[in-house]
Amino acid sequence: MTCEISSRPLSLSRVERHLGDPASGAVVFFIGRVRRESAGGRRTAALDYETDRAVVLARLRDLERQALRRFGARRVFLVHRVGRVRVGDASVIIGVAAPHRAMAFRAARFLIEELKREVPIWKSDRWARAPAGHRRRTRPRPRGARSPG
């Protein structure tokens, strides 16, 4: 399996192990992480990711096939987290091994752009700490202006 949806913390070294290939001189990884962001005195504590499990793996595999075919990549690994992901943690890791670096960079960039557009995954913000003087609250804000990466 080179496309995964995981509710556990993502591991870069696990992705790296899938990309061994003596004919690939270049490996590019992209890691999307939940980043700290403030808005109106609130601060992101985490993002909640959900997905449609009936479709998501087929969509990821389709992207993988495109990267192999269109960019000459030789190995691709895609893993996206679901559930609550805290600030600083990875929500997505993409790894590409290719003979040359231009291919690997292009394929990795293609994959993250397409993943955001074409793969049924949604995030919603979890906010922490109201402005000083207000009580602490945590509530979803599904169409947040900010997106990691």
Partner: protein, 85 residues
């Protein structure tokens, strides 16, 4: 024998519906995705604008548009714009 389809809602569609899924009766001869969702949107007006920007899935495959047929036992997914990454 089932006589309904299950419609599953994600992200803003789920919030508009206040539910992750509903079951909806359809004739034994089938119906269309458009007809099923229009019926739901009449009962849940907040769903209507969400449907406009959404893609639809039937039994794990994207459908071409609202005229796609559905039969009892089918599962429909309503996908607002994606925001992963």
């Amino acid at each position: 024998m089932k006589s309904s389809v299950r419609v599953r809602f994600f992200a803003t569609a789920r919030e508009a519906m206040g539910a992750a899924s509903v079951d909806r009766e359809v004739p034994a001869s089938g119906s269309t995705i458009g007809a099923v969702l229009s019926g739901l949107a009449e009962e849940h007006p907040r769903l209507k604008p969400v449907l406009k920007g959404s893609r639809f899935v039937r039994n794990g495959r994207y459908v071409g548009g609202p005229r796609a047929r559905v039969a009892p036992g089918d599962e429909i997914g309503v996908h607002p714009p994606y925001s992963g990454g």
